[in-house]
């Protein structure tokens, strides 16, 4: 892996920034160079939110991208807007619980992840972002599950055991 450019998009409250931050953090623990660039503005729940994450073996110049090795969309407007960013043969992850439409391209690898349903069955729909994170890690191997679990231990430190359990289960739930 030389450089992986990733883009995560959805609406505020879905935890898309959390997906990106976990990958960035885990990649740093693996000794990689990392940039995490969130969109910002008059943010609110339900507004749009996205972030760009770059993971590389060498120094990263531009933290800004115009094409990606991986795009993850958590809602329909994000699919419509960002599907074209995926480089040929690379990955598009679609939250199929929220997005009923299919992708239009046939030159890329597409994973439909019913993240909200899976999370709901585990007991809390809010963990949908962790289901998606797990799917990304499983399919692309951009970081290891070990690193992600290490990050989760740090970010969820002090939280209830049930919360930690839920998120760990969500991480491994997608087949």
């Amino acid at each position: 892996m030389a450089t992986q450019k990733m883009f995560f998009s959805g609406f505020g409250g879905q935890g898309v920034l959390m997906i990106g931050r976990n990958i960035a953090y885990a990649a740093m623990l693996e000794g990689k160079e990392v940039t995490f660039l969130p969109s910002y503005g008059p943010e609110m729940r339900g507004g749009t939110a996205n972030c760009t994450v770059i993971v590389s073996d060498k120094m990263i110049s531009s933290p800004l991208i115009y094409e990606a090795d991986l795009v993850c969309v958590m809602n329909l407007p994000s699919l419509i807007k960002f599907e074209r960013m995926v480089k040929p043969d690379k990955f598009l992850f679609i939250n199929s619980s929220i997005i009923s439409q299919s992708a239009t391209r046939s030159d890329i690898q597409i994973a439909y992840v019913n993240a909200n349903e899976i999370a709901k069955n585990l007991g809390n729909e809010k963990a949908a972002n962790m289901v998606m994170l797990g799917a990304i890690v499983k399919k692309t191997g951009v970081v290891s599950f070990d690193s992600i679990e290490h990050v989760m231990e740090k970010t969820f430190a002090g939280k209830k055991q049930s919360v930690i359990e839920l998120n760990r289960n969500a991480l491994h739930a997608w087949e």
């Binding site: 931050r21 960035a24 953090y25 740093m28 160079e33 990392v34 940039t35 995490f36 660039l37 969130p38 910002y40 503005g41 008059p42 110049s61 531009s62 933290p63 800004l64 991208i65 115009y66």
Partner: protein, 358 residues
């Protein structure tokens, strides 16, 4: 070496300032640097410092003026229109020869503008918006680690030069996260030490001599003498504070000049051009004042064109043209209003410009 941590720019600014000796922070919230004010409100008192949220930027800079006069290591931060409000104070502080560190996490302008990243404060920070003859050394970091290194040194630099030091970042550096290594905290200066190390400070009556801090000089002869003294200092600063990075300029057909966030995007463009067999180089001014004119003497004499790439209407190009001194044509690639061009956009525009200089 301590371990790498993943830090957001705005928080890293605060952490580096505290580790670099900042003991007083005065600020007023404004996007895109709010996380810094929030960080300082949480950390300053915990770490032996003082935090004040002032009622305005005008109040911030004048409170900082008072703190600096008393010898305190003080830090103010804001974003573009907030820094505009501080200009009067900065002129006064330069005249009074007081140390201070100011950070501008800049956004789009003019006026209240927008909140997305911009570099349209280049003239504001390098020329100064306050009245009279003065200069403020300005440093523009391109990464979070570089921001930390600059801020960590800024307080001792301000003390040494008895002048404000300005750091010009932008919304992108403020908002993004990168792994960084933090330097060891410097020991704070105690109040007793202030009287010894800063004999000019208004540090109380115990030290046995009077100090006067002022910017009013009614006699033209006095004022002229004072300004000339300031400029002896500035001429020295022009020699000692120049800082820049350069990459592949000795054999380049095209040389970019770019600072901060934009310089990182241009770095990628240089690699893209290299893939097409085009030799491109970069001069990245880190000190914007003093501007690194000396870097231009190393540019390949056969360079076809110099391109200034910036997030404004070409403010730095004035300095680039002065440094180039007619040796090469100087062109501009820019976006403004809070828009950051991708490497692809700069690459395409650069190819078009190069086509004119075959």
């Amino acid at each position: 070496m301590s371990e790498r941590v993943l830090m957001k720019g705005n928080e890293a600014f605060g952490e580096a300032a505290i580790r670099g000796g900042c003991r007083y922070y005065v600020g007023y919230p404004i996007t895109p640097q709010n996380e810094l004010t929030e960080f300082m409100s949480r950390e300053m008192t915990k770490r032996g410092g003082k935090f004040v949220q002032a009622e305005s930027e005008l109040a911030s800079i004048n409170m900082a003026y008072g703190i600096a006069a008393a010898g305190g290591n003080v830090f103010v931060s804001s974003a573009s229109p907030g820094i505009a409000l501080m200009q009067e104070g900065l002129s006064f502080i330069c005249s009074a020869e007081l140390p201070l560190v100011a950070l501008n996490v800049s956004r789009g302008g003019p006026g209240i503008g927008g909140i997305q990243p911009g570099q349209a404060d280049y003239n504001q920070v390098t020329r100064g918006g306050g009245n009279g003859d003065y200069h403020i050394p300005v440093f523009a970091p391109a990464s979070i680690q570089e921001s930390i290194d600059i801020l960590y040194d800024a307080f001792s630099l301000a003390d040494e030069w008895r002048n404000p030091i300005m750091i010009l970042a932008d919304g992108m550096i403020g908002q993004m996260m990168e792994p960084v290594t933090l330097p060891e905290p410097k020991a704070p200066i105690s109040e007793d030490e202030i009287a010894v190390r800063k004999p000019w400070a208004l540090s109380g009556t115990k030290k046995g001599h009077r100090s006067v801090v002022k910017s009013l000089r009614m006699q033209p002869n006095d004022l002229e003498k004072h300004v000339e003294k300031l400029f002896e200092k500035y001429r020295q600063a022009e020699k000692e504070l120049v800082k820049y990075d350069s990459d592949r300029i000795e054999d380049a057909e095209v040389v970019f000049v770019s600072f901060g966030t934009t310089a990182r995007i241009v770095s990628e463009v240089i690699d893209m051009l290299a893939e097409d067999g085009i030799k491109a180089g970069l001069i990245r001014p880190i000190s914007l004042w003093p501007f690194p004119e000396e870097a231009f003497s190393k540019v390949n004499p056969k360079t076809k064109v110099v391109i200034s790439a910036e997030l404004n209407m070409g403010q730095m190009m004035t300095d680039v043209k002065a440094a180039v001194c007619g040796r090469f044509p100087v062109r501009l690639i820019n976006r403004t209003g809070g828009i950051i061009p991708t490497s692809l956009e700069i690459y395409e525009r650069a190819k078009k410009i190069l086509g004119e200089y075959k």
